[in-house]
Amino acid sequence: MISFSIDGQPVEGKEDAHILEVALDAGIEIPHLCYNESVKPYGACRLCLVEVTRKGRSKMTTSCNYPIMEGIEVFTGTEKVLRARRMIIELLLSMCPGDKLLQEMAAGMGVREVRFKKEEEKDCILCGLCARVCDEVVGAHAIQFASRGDRREMIPPFGEEAMNCIACGACVVVCPVNVIGMKEEGDERTILRWKRTLKMKSCKVCGNYFAPWFQLDKFKEKAKLPKDFYDVCYTCRS
């Protein structure tokens, strides 16, 4: 275990842990959007910025991907940190002005107006969480960043329908600003942002549509399951 301090409070974390996860475990709140414990930290949203003092030198860094070290001092609420965070939330809010969560966070930090050019009411903030979940948790590899700089966007390859997408909806759930969207109509499920529509399979017992055919076929192929494994839905099985 490595011991260090956050805002003067002594804390302990595992060898390969990062500041943010240790802080959250210890009940210390650091605002964050692109961090999710089930995927590797990425440091895209920059909201989890903290000041770290190590060997007498202080620097600003994202806490989600800063590895913990013996004896470092972390400060989550210095004037410098708060000022930087206000600017970041203002910039994020200009990318997605219509989002409730962002608005609340901004208000909590004392940002009253956005001075930058506002984008569409609700748009992606390019945190990359959906793609990381798709790659690391789901393993479907359906979407990724494309281009760079001000042209950067999160799209399926070639900007078309995401052919690898299994319409599991994991990206829809993790998206911090809720811009992906899923729709179920009759026997079809659509992931709106990735333009992916898949036919659903119905349960042999209750008759409800419970998962897309394509998804179940992928699961069966990966786990080498018998052909009739998914004839019955998850609820009827248990």
Partner: protein, 163 residues
């Protein structure tokens, strides 16, 4: 691009996943762009998901996913060229070719690109076509310079006063 060509390129790098950039560069050098089916085939061969390959291919400006023209026209927009009127040269080329930077003419003869410095500021405004440099450019010289690279049919039209 046929699959065997791609496989020859992949084998040159020992089918290593880490060689993806070099492989893409070789495909780009051969085809002048990255054809979609080449990327898909490459992903299958190296075991790299297509979303990752697409990310790499769109990140670097050296790669193009659209077919390129036979001749690449690079207009320098660096500071030295800019103050000597690079914008006017660029506008004239746009007008003559009927395309914007990054685009290719319909007959796939020219691709227009703007770059930030070609390193010959003393000769500015500079235009480079297929690596051949044309210095001290102005909008009046554009037509004559482009004519050298026009296809035969177009050259004749140009001689009749129409381009």
């Amino acid at each position: 691009m046929i699959h065997s060509e791609i496989e020859t390129i992949i084998e040159r790098y020992g089918s290593r996943e880490s060689a993806i950039l070099s492989i893409l560069q070789d495909i780009q050098a051969k085809e002048k762009y990255l054809p979609r089916e080449a990327l898909e085939h490459l992903g299958g061969k190296l075991g790299i998901p297509i979303n990752k390959i697409y990310r790499i291919a769109t990140f670097y400006r050296a790669f193009s996913l659209m077919p390129r023209g036979r001749h690449e026209v690079c207009v320098c927009m660096g500071t030295a060229c800019h103050v000597r009127g690079a914008q006017r040269v660029a506008d004239q080329i746009k007008l003559e070719l009927g395309i914007r930077p990054g685009e290719t003419t319909k007959d796939r003869n020219f691709t227009l690109e703007t770059v930030n410095c070609l390193g010959v500021c003393a000769a500015g405004p500079v235009v480079a076509i297929d690596g051949q440099y044309f210095g001290k450019m102005n909008s009046a010289k554009v037509d004559g310079t482009l004519k050298k690279f026009r296809s035969d049919k177009k050259k004749k039209e140009g001689a009749n006063g129409k381009v």
